[in-house]
Amino acid sequence: MSVSDTSTDFAAKERAGLPRKGIAVVAAILAALIVAPFMAYPVFVMKLLCFALFASAFNMLLGYTGLLSFGHATFFGGAAYATAHAVKVWDFEPLTGILFGTLCAAGLGLAMGVVAIRRQGIYFAMTTLALAQMVYFLFLRAGFTNAEDGIQNVPRGRLLGLIDLSDPMAMYALVCGVFLVGMAVIWRIVHSPFGQVLRAIRENEPRAVSLGYRVNRYKLAAFVMSATLTGLAGATKALVFQIATLTDVDWHMSGEVILMTLLGGVGTMLGPVVGAGLIVAIQNVFATTGFPLSVILGIIFVLCIMLFRKGIIGTLHDQWRRYGRK
């Protein structure tokens, strides 16, 4: 794929630093996090936060490095399995369990990344998809995952041995904490000199090479970081729902996170959060009707690609800028 022609599509140029607008957005998110559990079911909000973090971690790779991974379910589901097993069988403390799951995702990310970054563009997408399918079969066969049944009734445990997480509000506070830490890390990475190099690679890989950057090392680092943060989301999800199943490592999951990012806006900080919120809400609505969800998701996919490739936040950005110029 030629990298130069992606720039106009996959780019949404953001100002670095935290201007007044940024502070307002952060304040609004914090306020929403405090109000949310009183407005909606806490479990629903927690699910939303996990997927928002998942999509944001994925977007770090697609939006800021220009790599489309079709295998992120591996890290999400892999971390969920690892955490569920550690907490249930090895009696890990919840936070340590989440950490363990996250590290496992990092390991999986390193293994997959080393192979996948050898190809670019469309081949990268197909390679990650195939490798993720391989991991799916491995999880299907591995004894500890209980194949079709998954790991069920995962105990939430006591945080640091003190706080009982079976209390929904305590669990909610933990998920909020994980979400905020994850988002802060992503923001920091994206707006660092390292993030600038990633964007340079996205815009024009040959030029980044000629400037002396070891592009493959940067790509691998970005891939592992994205996998790690995805793992953080998956590990937390396993504690929220107290279950880890094959659904989490299935390729449909990889497709869903792409859709969330695309719908919200590729390459924007807020886009994946908005996209994840919408998709999770849509899933909730259609779960009760008998209509197949995949048809709805497919239609949204087609509409996104055909009509607004910049996503909701990306389009709003453009409108805002046009309005400001007048």
Partner: protein
């Protein structure tokens, strides 16, 4: 009875036959993917869905009109090809000039819609579709039992693959196609209707996929999910072979089918993942694939 590597010959030969049989489908599908990618620069994620549509079209036409297998083998793929042409004209053609990733995502969306609707209509359970009576038997070759239908599929698929190769590499139309792949504006300047060529190419790729689907129908059950399972393996096959060459796609398809069959004999647990493992190894030593030219 003769043994090879401690495995009885009939078992080995039987699994190799099944391997070749699976390879026939991999070859037909990766051939279609390669042709579509060559001209349209799109990885057709809907390829598995088109394969499934072929099987369902044959199943339904057979149920409703009682058409014989030989007519279904052509009629069902034709219907799917018309559907694919409409998709190309209505949607894909608007993505020309954009990053190929958009094509992948669009066809992924189409696959979700088609498979979701099929599931809604027919449920997840498979439907049975019986092979034509002329091919239902099996013959004893002395060292193995050979089911006629499997042999038929291997031979027909080989013929179709070779005919396609000849069409593209040896005819005027194929030369036009290759020219358009190399330099589209130039071919357009010569007065060739390139958009029509693109539509026809996509429809032809879809025809091959649906053709494979009809042939798969009597052996595998006709189910809405039959396509999504095979398409990922075919993606791995395409990554291994590299999409630069038509012959390479065919050869890699059969080869990987054989290797998969062999794995079933030697170490059955790994048969699901052997193709992916080979992909990883090939990527490590030859990143552009066995027959690939460009990275």
């Amino acid at each position: 009875m003769a043994d090879i590597f401690g495995i009885p010959l009939p078992v080995l030969a039987g699994q190799l036959l099944i391997g070749l049989f699976n390879g026939a489908f991999y070859a037909l599908l990766s051939l279609g993917l390669a042709i579509i990618f060559g001209l349209l620069r799109i990885i057709n994620f809907a390829h598995g869905a088109l394969y499934m549509m072929g099987a369902f079209a044959a199943f339904l036409l057979g149920e409703w009109f009682g058409l014989p297998f030989w007519i279904l083998l052509v009629a069902a793929p034709l219907i799917v090809a018309i559907f694919a042409a409409a998709i190309e004209r209505g949607l894909l053609t608007h993505l020309q000039g954009l990053d190929p990733l958009y094509g992948l995502l669009l066809t992924f969306g189409i696959a979700l819609i088609v498979e979701g609707l099929a599931q809604y209509q027919f449920g997840v359970a498979g439907q049975n579709f019986s092979p034509p009576s002329a091919l239902s038997g099996a013959s004893n070759l002395g060292f193995m039992i050979m089911p006629h239908y499997r042999a038929f599929v291997i031979v027909v698929s080989l013929i179709v693959c070779l005919a396609t190769w000849a069409l593209i590499e040896r005819t005027k139309l194929g030369a036009l196609l290759r020219a358009a792949t190399e330099n589209r504006p130039l071919v357009e300047a010569f007065g060739v209707n390139v958009p029509l060529l693109l539509t026809a190419t996509y429809a032809f790729g879809a025809f091959l996929a649906a053709f494979a689907g009809v042939m798969a129908a009597p052996v595998f059950q006709v189910s809405p999910l039959m396509g999504s399972n095979i398409v990922i393996v075919v993606f791995a096959v395409v990554v291994i072979g590299g999409m630069g060459s038509i012959g390479g796609a065919i050869l890699t398809g059969f080869l990987l089918g054989l290797i998969e069959g062999l794995t079933k004999v030697i170490y059955p647990e790994a048969s699901n993942i052997v193709v992916f493992v080979i992909m990883a190894i090939v990527l490590f030593f030859r990143p552009s694939g066995l027959f690939g030219k460009t990275a």
